[in-house]
């Protein structure tokens, strides 16, 4: 590395971190990224607590009373949080009314009742209504007798709010429970005994047992499901944010130097490669600053929340290595685009495919977290443009990955970064003084290959 490269890197670093845009991005990026989660958390309690009136047509004649009793119980207790003066209603009341056919149970009468109740929903007198058919309790044996036929729904639930599913889900649970009880009772089986026998088991999610250096066997620790999900996600988003805040502005910086005719003065003092490397190293410095701010901020926040033990200290070294390589790799591409075009509009055409490469890990990270050592996850994490983000995601999920994988991944990213910097250097050298029509992708590839 030459002294000129360092001088350019220092100027680039100072120019970047002294701007208001940098400070605003530093604050706003996590706000935007975490904003959607934060807003959802904030709005979680801001639900409409207006009563939901539901008509229940129970043609079995055996379930409505139990459902209404359960609803009363729910409205009295389940929908509240806190005690005393802090007691607050968190969910709407479900107010059930029993509806019945006026005369004989004929298809026409049922159709007329359904229409009438539908009109009441349209007039907002009701929120929804449900019809339990007469054979709802006995239907199980009928289905078992003819398993080849597609079973129709047992209960019809009608509403004008298809996206609000709370009532239907609550009703499903309650009706299922009371139908089971009715069926057991009809079969002269001790309902309480069976319900106890069918109560679900809790399965704990534990890590592995290990032997310590003293020979003592260490019991398995209970897996913190929240941590195994949020830590990889947080690291992924942090690396993505750092690339976006530090590498992407390189495009504008190079373009500005080209448009404001600074480039020719610079390439007279330093070679285009020194100039580009200086800019890249300055950008890597900016990214390290951002990472330090965010990691220290994250550690501070976790300490305040009493979960500092979950902070992935063992990954910091790898994270910084991968993040620097990612910034250099993507930064070289962004600076090549900046050198090749004449204005931001032209840049958009070339940036779009580049951005798609950057965001690929965001599309597949969830599958990788679920099965970090599955073939798909391993192969995806060795795709060099995705390696920095996906390898860190895999490493953050216990028990981690075999030790050779991060090392081989880093080497492949390093090789790709060198190739990118080399190719981008050629584009940069040709493009930086070129004015007029922007090159087509084919021409750009020609510049990279032939120089």
């Amino acid at each position: 590395m030459t002294r000129k490269t360092i001088v350019i890197a220092v100027r680039e670093y100072q120019a970047a971190i002294r701007t208001k845009t940098f400070l605003v991005s530093l604050i706003l990026m996590p706000v935007f990224m975490g904003g959607s989660i934060g807003v959802q958390v904030l709005l979680r309690d801001k639900v409409d607590t207006t009563d939901k009136r539901i008509a229940l047509v129970d043609m079995t004649g055996r379930l409505a009373t139990a459902v209404l009793a359960d609803a009363e119980r729910r409205n009295a207790t389940d929908i509240f949080q806190g005690d005393g003066t802090a007691r607050k209603q968190m969910q709407p009341r479900f107010v059930f009314e029993a509806a019945a056919l006026p005369g004989e149970t004929t298809p026409e009468a049922l159709q007329a009742l359904t229409l009438e109740l539908s009109d009441r929903v349209r007039k907002r007198e009701l929120f929804a209504f449900a019809i339990i058919p007469a054979d709802a309790i006995s239907r199980a044996s009928a289905s078992a007798a003819a398993p080849a036929t597609t079973p129709s729904a047992d209960v019809a639930y009608h509403s004008n709010s298809p996206t609000y599913d709370d009532v239907r889900r609550w009703l499903t649970g309650v009706l299922t429970k009371h139908t089971h009880e009715a069926r057991l009772s009809d079969a002269n089986v001790d309902t309480k005994l069976v319900m106890n026998a069918l109560s679900p088991l809790r399965v704990d999610n534990l890590g592995l047992v290990s032997r310590e250096a003293t020979g003592e066997i260490k019991a398995a620790e209970k897996t913190n499901e929240l941590a195994t999900f949020f830590i990889p996600f947080g690291l992924l988003m942090l690396m993505f944010m750092v690339v976006m805040i530090s590498a992407q502005p390189l495009l504008q910086s190079v373009l500005e130097e080209k448009m404001q005719r600074i480039a020719e003065v610079l390439v007279a003092c330093a070679s285009p490669f020194e100039l580009m490397m200086g800019k890249l190293l300055g950008t890597a410095g900016v990214s390290l600053t951002i990472v330090c701010v965010y990691l220290l901020g994250g550690l501070f926040a976790m300490e305040r929340l009493g979960v500092a033990g979950l902070f992935p200290k063992h990954l910091i070294g790898w994270f910084i290595l991968y993040q620097c390589l990612a910034v250099l790799m993507f930064g070289s591409m962004f600076s090549a685009v900046g050198a090749a075009v004449n204005d931001l509009k032209e840049a958009q055409n070339l940036v779009t495919p580049l951005m798609l490469v950057v965001v690929v890990p965001l599309f597949i990270w969830f599958n990788v977290v679920k099965e970090p050592n599955a073939s798909f996850s391993v192969i995806a994490s060795f795709f060099p443009f995705a390696t920095p983000m996906l390898m860190i995601v895999r490493m953050a999920v216990p028990p981690g990955v075999p030790a050779w994988q991060p090392a081989v991944g880093a080497l492949s990213v390093l090789a790709t970064t060198v190739a990118c910097v080399f190719a981008a250097g050629r584009v940069f050298r040709i493009g930086i003084l070129m004015q007029g029509k922007a090159p087509k992708l084919r021409e750009l590839i020609g510049w990279m290959l032939r120089g």
């Binding site: 002294r3 000129k4 001088v7 350019i8 100027r11 120019a15 701007t19 130097e257 404001q260 005719r261 600074i262 480039a263 020719e264 003065v265 610079l266 390439v267 007279a268 003092c269 330093a270 070679s271 003084l433």
Partner: protein, 300 residues
């Protein structure tokens, strides 16, 4: 010894030959003027000297300050490009410090910066951002950025373009001082008057090829005393129909007449007297401007 030597250099952009088989030698300590119409290859040649462009493969050699082109140290060269730009958000002092460091200076950075700012009457602007400067001030700062590291060779592409007369004088004096300090100056210009007054040597490039090279006297000597500078009372119309006159450049008060080969100035004077009172008659060599126009004017 020559500060710059180009030997049969060519540069082609796609199918356009911007510079064609160009050779030149710039003696150390001289002021060397580069003239030629727009698009003739001046800037391309200067960029090749600066190693911004590489000559065509297989074309000749470039030697700068006694070293091969590939090893030429740009740190000993100062360069002022035709299209100028500075980091607008930087302070003037920081910007000049950046350029000094970029040219390899590490210590005593303040002294040359202060000295040059004072010299070009910009000391009060040292801690202002570049974006607050006027166009003329920015151009002077750009000049300082090119010379603040005391280069041995100074390459200036159109240094006087867009400057007011006071700034032009400041720059001219600074360039002459640098030459007195031992630097070699190579500059391109469209200002023939300035080239005549300042340059020890002049090179004219036209359509990528060298068409003139030498001292002003030697160039003028090639054309001989074929020019008449005359003033005739009246409107001076009909000068082209004078016997032996090939072309007329009418400047209003004076007119310059280019005589055809073998024409006799005496016969022209006789014909002039017949057309009105002659107040000025001078047999002279053509000016650089006139030579430029003769070469570069499209053939009728």
């Amino acid at each position: 010894m020559n500060a710059v030597e180009l030997e049969r250099i060519s540069k082609t952009f796609k199918s356009v030959k911007a510079v064609d088989d160009l050779s030149l030698s710039v003696p150390e300590g001289s002021i060397y003027g580069f003239i030629g119409p727009n698009g003739s290859g001046k800037t391309t040649t200067l960029r090749m000297i600066m190693r911004i462009y590489y000559p065509d493969l297989g074309s000749g050699a470039i030697r700068i300050l006694g070293r091969d082109h590939s090893a030429a140290a740009n740190d000993r060269i100062g360069y002022l490009p035709e299209e100028r730009g500075l980091y607008r958000k930087m302070k003037v002092r920081d910007l000049l410090k950046f350029f000094l460091e970029l040219h390899g200076h590490r210590r005593n950075l303040s002294e040359p910066i202060q000295s040059w700012l004072a010299r070009l009457r910009l000391s009060d602007w040292a801690d202002k951002k570049v974006e607050t400067l006027s166009k003329g001030m920015s151009q002077r700062i750009q000049f300082i950025a090119a010379v603040v590291h005391s280069p041995k060779l100074l390459i200036l592409d159109e240094p006087f373009s867009g400057l007011d007369p006071v700034s032009t004088e400041d720059l001219r004096e600074a360039i002459l001082d640098l030459r007195r300090g031992g630097a070699t100056i190579l500059f391109s210009t469209h200002d023939m008057h300035m080239a005549e007054k300042m340059c020890d040597y002049v090179l004219m490039i036209y359509q990528g090829r060298k068409v003139l090279d030498g001292t002003l006297e030697s160039i003028q000597a090639r054309y001989g005393a074929d020019t008449l500078r005359v003033a005739v009372e009246g409107n001076g119309q009909g000068l082209t129909s004078l016997p032996g006159v090939e072309r007329v450049a009418d400047f209003g008060r004076l007119a310059e007449l280019k005589m055809s080969d073998g024409a006799d100035p005496q016969r022209v004077l006789e014909a002039l007297i017949g057309r009105g009172r002659v107040t000025h008659f001078e047999v002279t060599r053509p000016t650089l401007h006139d030579i430029f126009v003769r070469i570069a004017r499209p053939k009728e």
